[in-house]
């Protein structure tokens, strides 16, 4: 594998004021790298959805973004409750978010579907009671 850049972010849990900070910072980094607006948009949306999921469901976690020559890889790792039924979670409109979260405009059940829609590859590894690791890739060519 060719050399790559790594960006590492800690995502605060249950903090809706700072939610999205990692994604916004990553967007700035991508602009500095001179990536195309379409690539920046895809990575930003996918990463923001993942970041919000970690805030809502998992008390935070860590996000790593690796920039390779041919793709950008986003890895989101949390020690949250895990996803009981991935097929159900992937359905648009399905959400387990509480009323407080919904009142803030989240919990529409579009997070995971958006992550899949805006990336070229997405892998979910989850163990109920232990956590979830999501690896997404956006191709650069």
């Amino acid at each position: 594998m060719s050399e790559f850049l790594n960006f590492h972010f800690e995502v605060d849990g249950d903090n809706f004021v700072s939610a999205g900070q990692a994604s916004v910072q990553m967007k700035k980094n991508m602009r500095q790298l001179g990536l195309s607006p379409e690539i920046i948009r895809k990575v930003s949306i996918a990463m923001y959805e993942g970041e919000i999921n970690m805030v809502i469901h998992a008390h935070g976690g860590v996000a790593d973004v690796n920039v390779y020559e041919d793709r950008i890889e986003i890895i989101l790792d949390d020690k949250g409750p895990g996803i009981k039924d991935i097929d159900l979670a992937m359905q648009e409109g399905y959400s387990t978010a509480n009323d407080h979260v919904r009142a803030l405009g989240f919990g529409a059940g579009m997070g995971l579907p958006n992550m899949k829609r805006y990336t070229d590859d997405m892998k979910i590894e989850t163990v109920v009671g232990e956590g979830t690791k999501i690896t997404m890739s956006v191709n650069l060519s």
Binding site: F16, V17, A19, G20, Q21, S23, V24, K27, P37, R41, S44, I45, Y48, E49, I52, L104, G105, F106, A108, G109, M110, G111, P113, N114, R117, Y118
Partner: protein
């Protein structure tokens, strides 16, 4: 039409205008942030009644050119400061979302 020109033409109240010369192209109306993230296009005006801090991040990440707060909603504390720092334009109108969209439709 630019953000500044649109705001002046329709008498919207500017709340945060770090990037007034940006072009507005098209419009998206929605209050569910994931829908907006997934469906609003870059340079759109985004009309919403959602007024919490997260609109600044969503607007920045989805790259909309202007957030229009409809029905005179008041943004939460810190929204405008965050918007300025993220280069997000926000304006407010007393009109409902639909009427706002109809009014600006011929200029965007």
């Amino acid at each position: 039409m630019t953000v500044n020109a649109l705001i002046e033409k329709y008498g919207f109240s500017p709340l945060s205008l770090p990037d007034p010369d940006r072009e507005v192209k098209g419009c998206y109306i929605g209050d569910l942030l994931s829908w907006v993230m997934g469906r609003a296009q870059a340079d759109n005006a985004w009309i919403t009644i959602m007024s919490n801090i997260n609109i600044a991040a969503v607007a920045a990440l989805s790259d909309v050119s202007l957030v229009i707060l409809a029905e005179d909603v008041t943004p939460d504390e810190n929204v405008l400061k965050t918007a300025e720092s993220k280069n997000v334009n926000i304006a407010r109108t007393s009109l409902p979302a639909f009427e706002t969209a109809v009014k600006i439709s011929c200029d965007i």
